[in-house]
Amino acid sequence: METIFFLIITLVAIISAILVVTCKNPINSALSLIMTFFCLATYYVMLDAPFMAAVQVMVYAGAIMVLMVFTIMLLNIRVDASKKHSHKLIIGSIMGFFTLLDLGYVIVKSRAALPTGPFSGDMIKQLGHTELIGREIFTSFLLPFEITSILLLTAIVGAVILAKKKI
């Protein structure tokens, strides 16, 4: 039963991903991207990481995509009319195909012995995923956490300077 559900979600995800790439109108590709994010969120849930799914939806679908759509609207970009099938299409797809080939090969071939860490699946269910992540972030990963906050700060300042016409 679960596998069927998994297949459906995968199907939806891949189709929307392809749509992102192929749609002429950027708005449609933006929406299909949001659709992909939702599929990913369901994956996270299936992987017993509910908090991750929530964050995924909020950050990506909510924040970043809204920003994207906003920019598209701001610049009211017409549909890129000249769809010349330049050589880029062929080369791009060949490259994509080769990456897929490599990754697939990696996945199929790899026999790495998987040392299991301390947190088993059921343990997450009892303690609650958010609490566990919270404990992890604010103990061992405190320094990276602070650095990412600085990163965000610089990004904000950068964005403001770049977009403003004259300082």
């Binding site: 880029k88 080369i91 490259m95 080769f98 990456t99 490599d102 990754l103 090969y105």
Partner: protein, 664 residues
């Protein structure tokens, strides 16, 4: 007086400095001429003093070495500026200063009116200084200074009329050929120095020390190599077979130059060098043979060319080359004192001949100049019958011609006949000596022929000069004729100094005088000489008579051809056109040298420069630069500016790395 020897070269040096630096300002020809002549005359007086002092001394005390200052001292090598006075060098300085002062006096008259007058006298004095250095040097290096110094001065004096291209070329040719000789001299010097140093730890180039150590030398092997190299040096300087073509061209210079340098002094440097190092030369029989053969060959070869020349000075030049051949023949057969004796007598009569021809040319030039015709003043064909116009010149010329042809009673006969006899009876070369004697005699015949041909063409017969100029022909002034008369007298009388013992009337002072210098050489020679029966006196008288007869035959032929019926030479030329043309063009030796050496060098130089230097090396250097440019051109396309290319290369990178790791 001996330690005043350094004055001898010093005086001409002072003369050179005065005339050289201030000559332009003095401008007055008499003063410049006087300074030049005075300086050389002073050294003549000093050398007379030394001669007198040496005559007073017994034989073994006659060697004196005067060290002036240390010149080059580096490591083992020691060379001081030092002079050696011994019987041989005394004779040489007497000849050089004596003939030199006469020629200086002569050139005051001859060079009258030339615009570079001071320059001529400065160079002439410089030449005398270098020649005296060469002759007095007590080690090979001081001799080498003189050796190259005379080469330099002959370059300057031949190129005196520098505006004439032919003079410039002749000067350069003379210097380069001398330089080839110096190359041989240097190699010989190094071999000797190295051999003595590395085998017996005697690091010296001083003649006295080498003479003392000469007993260590082996009888051939390294000595042959060294002496052959020295002989190459001698041929370069004294114009023998391989390197003689510069001497006839050197006639471009003014006549006093030809008289002093190319007759009396410089060309005898080679003979003197062999005399000075006779104890080394004798040690290798092969070299002695080579010297004798080359000497004889040059004698006959130059004599043949001399017969067909029309320029009066060219004839005398080839006669000098031929007489030098005799001297080398004498040296080659071990008759060193005979060689030096012939050198002295030759200096007298050849200088007199040159000066005589100079005075002829001078008056011819004067006459032709008066009527503004530009016939060649030196060509014998437009001379003739000058004996009436120039009696003194004619007389002295005739005396010297008789001397050079070897007519008994005159100096030439004694010295040349001594050489012929020595070459016949020499103990060194076994059965070669008959051939040597025959060649010598033949050359003597040819010498007599062309000398008298010259006399008859210039002084006898009717005057072929441009009729209008005939009246202007007159005897040269006294300042020219006095040296002629002195030299003429010396040419006549000089022979009696070295009368061969056979004659018996006078003891052979000359040989006796040079005995101490060459007795070591003769002693070494006797070790390998062939001690057969000493040929009888009768044979000696017979050969002497034969040589006189041959000379008279030569004169007779000349007389019949050029006085009796003058069209005979024309007929002779008609019957043997190719032979005549070959002889007239000096057997095409110059052209052969050009073809063998000069042009290939130029072609090689051109090829090396254009081909190798520009094409190969610069090609490689510029090639590397172009290759680098090429690569940078290619890489430039990587930065195309399109984002797509960057993304593509990134993706490509990922894929390649992944697949590399996967499939490794």
């Amino acid at each position: 007086m001996f330690d005043k020897v350094w004055l001898i070269p010093l005086f001409p040096l002072i003369g050179f400095l005065i005339n050289g630096l201030f000559g332009k300002k003095i401008k007055n020809e008499a003063i410049i001429g006087a300074i030049g002549t005075l300086m050389i005359f002073l050294s003549f007086l000093v050398s007379c003093g030394i001669l007198m002092q040496m005559i007073g001394l017994p034989a073994e005390q006659r060697v004196f070495e005067k060290v002036l200052f240390p010149w080059i001292h580096s490591g083992n090598f020691k060379a001081d500026m030092a002079f050696l006075v011994d019987p041989l060098s005394v004779i040489m300085i007497m000849v050089v200063t004596g003939v030199g002062s006469l020629i200086h006096l002569y050139s005051i008259g001859y060079m009258h009116g030339e615009e570079g007058f001071y320059r001529f006298f400065a160079y002439l004095n410089l030449f005398c200084m270098s020649m005296l250095l060469l002759v007095l040097g007590s080690n090979m290096l001081v001799m080498f200074i003189g050796w190259e110094g005379v080469g330099l001065c002959s370059y300057l004096l031949i190129g005196y009329y520098f505006h004439k291209k032919s003079a410039g070329d002749a000067a350069k040719k003379a210097f380069v050929m001398n330089r080839v000789g110096d190359f041989g001299f240097l190699i010989g010097l190094f071999t000797l120095y190295w051999w003595f140093g590395s085998n017996h730890n005697i690091w010296t180039i001083n003649f006295v020390e080498i003479k003392a150590a000469s007993h260590l030398l082996p009888y051939s092997g390294v000595v042959t190599v060294a002496t052959l190299c020295f002989f190459v040096g001698a041929t370069g300087k004294s114009a023998q077979i391989p390197l003689f073509t510069w001497l006839p061209d050197a006639m471009e210079g003014p006549t006093p130059v030809s008289a002093l340098i190319h007759a009396a002094t410089m060309v005898t440097a080679g003979v003197y060098m062999i005399g000075r190092m006779s104890f080394v030369f004798v040690k290798s029989p092969e070299t002695m043979m080579v010297i004798a053969v080359v000497g004889a060959a040059t004698a006959i070869f130059a004599a043949t060319i001399g017969t067909a020349q029309n320029d009066i000075k060219r004839v005398l030049a080839y006669s000098t080359v031929s007489q030098l051949g005799y001297m080398f023949l004498a040296m080659g057969v071990g008759a060193f004192s005979a060689g030096i004796f012939h050198l002295m007598t030759h200096a007298f009569f050849k200088a007199c001949l040159f000066l005589g021809s100079g005075s002829v040319i001078h008056s011819m030039h004067h006459a032709l100049h008066k009527i503004h015709s530009n016939d060649d003043a030196q060509d014998m064909r437009n001379m003739g019958g000058l004996r009436k116009a120039m009696p003194i010149t004619f007389l002295t010329f005739l005396v010297s011609t008789i001397a050079i042809s070897g007519i008994p009673g005159f100096s030439g006969f004694f010295s040349k006949d001594e050489i012929l006899w020595q070459s016949f009876s020499n103990p060194y070369h076994g059965n070669l000596n008959i051939l040597l004697w025959v060649i010598g005699a033949l050359a003597a015949c040819l010498t007599a022929f062309y000398m008298f041909r010259l006399v008859f063409m210039t002084f006898f017969g009717e005057c072929r000069i441009n009729p209008k100029a005939k009246s202007y022909l007159h005897e040269s002034p006294l300042v020219i004729t006095i040296p002629l008369m002195v030299l003429g007298a010396l040419a006549a009388v000089g022979g009696y100094l070295g009368m061969p013992k056979l004659m018996g009337m006078l003891p052979n002072y000359f040989e006796h005088w040079l005995e101490p210098v060459f007795e070591l050489a003769n002693e070494y020679g006797s070790t390998y000489a062939y001690h057969g029966a000493h040929p009888s006196h009768a044979l000696e008288w017979g050969l002497m008579g034969l040589s006189v007869v041959i000379a008279l035959v030569g004169i007779g032929i000349a007389f019949t051809m050029y006085v009796k019926n003058t069209e005979l030479p024309g007929k002779f030329v008609a019957t043997f056109p190719t032979l005549h043309r070959a002889v007239y063009n000096k057997w095409y030796v110059d052209e052969i040298y050009d073809y063998l050496f000069v042009n290939p060098c130029k072609a090689l130089g051109q090829f090396l420069w254009k081909g190798f230097d520009v094409l190969v090396i610069d090609g490689v250097v510029n090639g590397v630069a172009n290759v680098v440019m090429g690569f940078s051109g290619i890489f430039r396309y990587m930065q195309s500016g399109y984002i797509f290319n960057y993304a593509l290369s990134m993706a490509l990178g990922v894929v390649v790395m992944l697949s590399y790791y996967l499939f490794k």
